[in-house]
């Protein structure tokens, strides 16, 4: 930070608050997970959570460090353009509420593959669902873990790469512990604790900030514009999205955000932790309410950081945009509040990665091992054993990936994961729930078409080459101008699903289709 080590607050205090969080959550995880033998316990916490609990856990799963530090920072530096993200993230939940949550709860048990393969040929569709789940979880996780490295540098004052690698290892190991010991039940409680801390923390900061400006949003905005190098422009859109390409980029990103959330595998899996569709609906309602409060609070915190800290000091610090919220915390609450905010940010990374690891391990054990390798002939204990083993492997991969990606500009991976989810998962979910003719070939075309076009477009986009901010700035094989592929890949996926279904001529299984339709709306057969 710009005033030297002193303004990081006290790394020891930051570390102590974080250690306190880890100790409490590990104790809770240990207490709630006495028996985790059956697949239903490990994957879905016995479907015994209430809608309210699950709603708060969804908030915990969904609000990554990128939402907290990233959005507050984007608003502090770019102003209004940062706010546009939060709107996309929130509105996206209406897709989940209206079209996905209850129907998915009624037709599946543990994974996204359960729903997609319900009336299709099991093995190819589950293989596709698992591929998409693993790719999305891995990209999302990599972004989180790489962010952890930067956060360590910022908050714990660990400048060396060796020291940061060590902290990433510790974060990864604690996360593996949560998943192995706690399964879905333990992980859900970690999410609930984390979400409560996060929301309380931002609400308190918001109330304090508004109080400081006499509860006048206008006064806060004026001060924010006065202390930002962009001046009045932070109150208007367009600081980031000025040119035609960047406008298209913004539209592409907005589409991916609003259609992606309901296709994220770790979000879908959360709907299985409640007993029925009604509770799944209540989960979304709770999630929408807590997240609306959270995003409104980040708006105030972002502009507040611009007003009290100033955009130049934020950009001049180690963590650049990401340090806006921590710097603001230090400004208004001193070392203690900074310690709490740092711990909350860490807890956020930890909890989100735990949720992703659980999802990836469930998809591998349930869809790949049990259905594809063993054709459904497997004891629950053996399946859970495989899931736990996968969780360890995924966790270790996340640690290695996090260390390698440390310092790289990988923030685009989160937006990319949303684009993947929108193009591969949402299209197939909607088709199989609402279009009776949709068949196995259509499912495969839509999933692989969406995933493939996404990957291909990113590969030839400015993200990878041809721009100063690319992964390989020295090379130039850029063909596609947008950094987010959603604008093209989402229509491609819907079109591929339609064409695959129509051209294959393979009739859908009418009995299975009737079964799925009736169950999805009535909740029969549960």
């Amino acid at each position: 930070m710009n005033e030297g080590a002193g303004s990081t607050g006290s790394p020891v205090l930051n570390m102590l608050v974080f250690a306190g969080f880890v100790a409490i959550t590990l104790y809770v995880v240990y207490r709630v997970s006495h028996h985790n033998k059956s697949t239903s316990d490990y994957y879905a916490a016995g479907s015994a959570f209430s809608g309210a609990q699950n709603g708060i856990a969804i908030t915990g799963d969904y609000l990554s460090a990128a939402s907290f530090l990233g959005i507050a920072g984007a608003i502090a530096v770019h102003g209004y353009d940062g706010f546009l993200y939060s709107i996309g993230f929130l509105v996206a939940w209406l897709v989940a509420l209206l079209l996905v949550a209850e129907l998915v709860r009624n037709t599946g048990r543990f994974t996204m593959g359960d729903v997609l393969a319900y009336r299709m040929r099991q093995r190819p569709v589950r293989a596709a669902a698992a591929t998409s789940t693993l790719v999305i979880s891995f990209f999302y996780m990599l972004a989180q873990m790489a962010g952890a490295g930067g956060l360590v540098a910022l908050l714990l004052d660990v400048p060396g790469r060796g020291g940061q690698a060590l902290v990433i290892c510790v974060v990864g190991l604690v996360m593996i512990c949560y998943v192995l010991v706690g399964g879905m039940k333990g992980t859900t409680w970690v999410q609930i604790i984390k979400a409560t801390m996060l929301v309380l923390c931002v609400v308190l900061m918001t109330v304090f900030l508004l109080g400081k400006f006499g509860f006048s949003m206008s006064a806060l905005l004026e001060e924010a514009a006065a202390n930002n190098s962009q001046g009045e422009r932070v109150l208007e859109p367009g600081t980031q999205y000025g040119t035609t390409t960047s406008q298209l980029n913004f539209i592409s990103l907005s589409l991916a955000l609003v259609l992606g959330a309901a296709g994220l595998p770790h979000v879908l899996m959360r709907f299985y932790t409640v007993p029925d569709a009604r509770q799944a609906r209540r989960s979304v309602v709770w999630a929408v309410c807590t997240m609306a409060v959270f995003y409104l609070a980040t708006l105030v915190i972002g502009y507040g950081a611009s007003a009290l800290v100033g955009s130049e000091r934020i950009l001049g610090s180690t963590g650049r945009e990401n340090s806006a919220a921590p710097l603001l915390a230090f400004e208004i609450g001193g070392t203690v509040l900074l310690g709490i905010v740092s711990a909350v940010a860490f807890a956020t990374i930890l909890a989100v990665v735990a949720g992703l690891t659980l999802t990836a391990s469930a998809s591998f054990a349930h869809d790949v091992y049990a259905t594809i390798f063993r054709r459904g002939d497997v004891e629950p204990e053996a399946e859970v054993r495989v899931a736990r083993l996968t969780a360890v492997v995924v966790g270790v991969l996340a640690i290695i990936g996090g260390i390698l990606a440390n310092g790289q500009n990988v923030a685009f991976l989160v937006a990319l994961a949303f684009a993947f989810a929108a193009s591969a998962n949402l299209s197939t979910l909607l088709y199989s729930l609402f279009w009776p003719r949709f068949n196995t070939v259509g499912t495969l075309w839509a999933m692989y078409g969406g995933l493939g076009s996404c990957l291909l477009l990113v590969l030839v986009s400015p993200v990878v080459s041809g721009a100063p901010t690319s992964l390989f700035p020295g090379l130039d094989f850029q063909l596609f101008p947008l950094t987010n592929p959603g604008l093209v890949s989402i229509p491609v996926s819907f079109l591929a699903g339609y064409l695959g279904t129509v051209l294959s001529g393979e009739p859908a299984d009418p009995v299975k289709q009737a079964e799925m339709e009736v169950r999805s709306l009535t909740g029969l057969g549960r």
Partner: protein
Amino acid sequence: MTQVVHHRITSRSRAPGGDFGGIIGETDRISTGIPAAQREPDYVAIRESPEFVALRRSFRWCVFPLAALFFLWYLTYVLLAAFAHGLMSHRLVGSVTVGLVLGLLQFASTIAITACYVLYARRRLDPQAEAIRDGVEAGR
């Protein structure tokens, strides 16, 4: 509840491996001696029943328009933010711009649509779904 829902066809057997994808799990395997196929409701008949057709109509009548509404409204907002900088930067009160107000309206509309759907689902959808479930369970 009509005859159709009470009626069940026992001849149709489940597809091999079918229950793995569905929800019928441990409870069916620890069965009471009755094969799962016999206790399985006849979903084709239920789907054709007037009760189910009515439920599906109520569901789609509510959900599709609401989804289209919020999607168009969000898209309008995104396009305005991308292209109509002049309008979005217009000051309404003090430093509060049209853009900020429209953004906050997105929050408000999200909450409003959520509330609408939840009320409708509780009043119209849940009782209909419950009646169909009860009918099927009574017919077993």
